[in-house]
Amino acid sequence: MLTGNGMIRLEKRPQPSKKWTSITPFLAVLATMFVGGIMFWALGQDPIEAIRIIFWDPLFNPQFASYARPQILVKAGPLVLIALGLSLGFRANIWNIGAEGQYIIGAICGAGVGLAFYPSEGWFIFPLMVIAGALGGFLWAMIPAILKIKFNTNEILVSLMLVYVAEKILVSVSLGLMRNPEGGGFPGSRNLQYYKAASNPELISGTGMHWGVLVAIALTCLTYIMLTKHILGFQIKISGQSNKAARFSGTNPSIITAICLGVSGALAGLAGLFEVSGPSGQISIDFNVGYGFTAIIVAFLGRLNPFGILLAGLLMALTYIGGELAQFMLGLPAAAIQAFQGMLLFFLLAGDILTNYRPKFTYKKRL
């Protein structure tokens, strides 16, 4: 294929093709449905029914839609928030893959502030929690950032290791520091849903819309403006393309590293805070469900473009709900949907060959 007398040769495009950049995500989804269908068939299921349950029923089945539709925003909110932050770094070749940890720490810090005020009421409590959540995620992400800037330590490994550390902290505080004193000894904090000043309620009943979803939508627009209109967007993009070009343009790589990791940490922390004060309600041992990792897929599927990420987040949320539904209806294992999401990323990356290269069909005569 690449050498010799091959029929297809690949020619590198000078610029990634805009057309294929937007087409490949859709192709990847189709390919995933197809191969996923085969996978479900191998598990002894009717593939068409399984795909319908995952992608169609949560939206349109009269029996489930009323429950499932609001859940899509609930799940898409944190995915989009985290993926927006990650996409900045991914553009600049700075790989924060520890968003799961920043999400946990953000939730712990935010909930900690809320619980500290319990049971007093006041309008300022929730805003303080939001600040604490963002700050917690920010500081947790600054650990890999500072180590990278000061010591050139690989941020991929450090941020990932810190996920495990954050999970241990989560277990520790759910059992100790933040345990509900009136919880009968069960692990887990007080439920913030029942503490009005600290809760992040559903804003319009039946939609799943909460403050986190609004913030995600607002930040999607802000990120888009920043990337297209602000010098910082230019500097982030150029850092990813060429280190030298970045330096000539006056970009300080340390500052870009700090901004990319810091912002993605803050956004992951925010996502954690909105989750713990809203849909989840409490700090508990199994509070984190992998949004930080799935957001990596969301960022790529959205092609690192803010509005693309918004769409990708909604789609990925749909597969979560659909996966739960399939679990309930067909008894599919919970992990099947995770494999399904991983497969989606494979197809997307595979499709990128069309974005970056132009296939040339040639006939070479053998001598």
């Binding site: 294929m1 690449l2 050498t3 690949l10 590198k12 598990l43 790989w95 893959i97 180590l147 000061k150 010591f151 050139n152 330590t153 690989n154 991929i156 490994l157 450090v158 990932l160 290791m161 810190l162 495990y164 550390v165 241990k168 902290i169 277990v171 520790s172 059992l175 100790g176 990792f293 799935t294 990596i296 897929i297 790529f300 294992p333 919970a334 992990a335 099947a336 949907i337 995770q338 494999a339 399904f340 999401q341 991983g342 497969m343 990323l345 494979f346 990356l349 595979a350 990128d352 060959i353 970056n356 290269y357």
Partner: protein, 310 residues
């Protein structure tokens, strides 16, 4: 607290067991990186190896067949990465992450229904006279065979990379793929084979976890071992013999914290169990801060895509 219950013999013995899965996965990744490819999917390949090895061992009743199944599983899943990055020229970082996410999902899926079973084990090696020596015998010379296979594999890799022509070619490909290509070496296929070797080793490492170290199958049981293996390759500055040192260091930290937990040290279990991850970070910082030493041995083309423009 009574530290006298800690026997140095038992500590050393369990240290070697704890180090083996990481060492196996790391030596595979070392070869992959030496060929110029960064495969961040070690965690995913390990967990697939763990589940494939476990299922094969349970179904056939033989731990050795389990290892074979794990090796095949590791090769199979790494071939996805190889195909994506070498044939379809996809981004290696993203493909590696995808491999880990996919591996975690797919392993949980196929391992569904195998939790709570005890797998068949390996017999421990007994070398006449040597295994009966005081201290050294029980601590070092009476393990299951895989512990020694792991060390042997590291030595073989060292020999291959440094003493054979093919090893030299592999390193050349990793150092400068354009030059190696100009000399007529098949960059893509050399890398492809290296990736499959890495997958096999990671698979074996995973199977060692599920068949010997734990021994059980649970979802996500690798718990970062694959990532620690990646860190150890950096720690070892891509030198096989330092990799043994690195793996034993981490094995030691793991065993110490487990033993301290068992002794009921006041620090609290949650904080003790962070130790392996924190030590990994500290070691990474120490190695990377010494810039000359850390980068001198890094393969020149690591992580770069090779596309023969002609």
């Amino acid at each position: 607290m009574d530290f006298s219950s800690l026997s140095p013999v038992a500590l050393l013995a369990s240290l070697m067991v704890a180090a083996t899965p990481i060492m196996l996965a790391a030596i595979g990744e070392l070869v992959v990186e030496k060929s110029g490819v960064l495969n961040l999917g070690v965690e995913g390949m390990m967990i697939v190896g763990a589940v494939c090895g476990f299922i094969t061992a349970v179904e056939t009743g033989s731990a050795w067949f389990g290892l074979l199944g794990a090796a095949l599983g590791g090769i199979l899943i790494s071939s996805i990465f190889a195909f994506l990055t070498q044939i379809l020229l996809a981004n290696q970082v993203a493909s590696g992450l995808a491999l880990t996410l996919f591996g975690l999902g797919v392993s949980a899926m196929i391992g569904n229904g195998y939790t709570g079973i005890k797998p068949p084990g390996f017999n421990t090696v007994h070398i006449p006279l040597l295994s009966d020596l005081p201290f050294i015998g029980p601590a070092i010379l009476s393990h299951d065979p895989i512990v020694y296979i792991g060390i042997l594999l590291v030595i073989l890799v060292w020999y291959f990379l440094n003493k054979t022509k093919n090893g030299l070619v592999l390193r050349a490909v990793g150092e400068n793929h354009d030059a190696a290509h100009a000399l007529g070496y098949k960059v893509i296929w050399i890398r492809f084979s290296a990736i499959l070797f890495g997958g096999m080793c990671a698979g074996l490492g995973g199977a060692y976890l599920s068949l010997v170290r734990v021994p059980q199958w649970t979802e996500g049981m690798t718990a970062g071992a694959g990532w620690i293996a990646l860190a150890i390759v950096v720690f070892a500055s891509w030198k096989p013999y330092r990799l043994i040192l690195g793996a034993y260091l981490f094995g030691g930290v793991t065993i110490m914290q487990l033993n301290l937990q068992a002794l009921g040290v006041e620090i609290g279990i949650a904080y003790l169990s962070m130790a392996p991850y924190l030590v990994t970070i500290i070691v990474l910082v120490m190695i990377s801060s010494n810039h000359l030493r850390s980068s001198a041995n890094a393969p020149g083309s690591l992580g770069r895509i090779f596309h023969a423009s002609q």
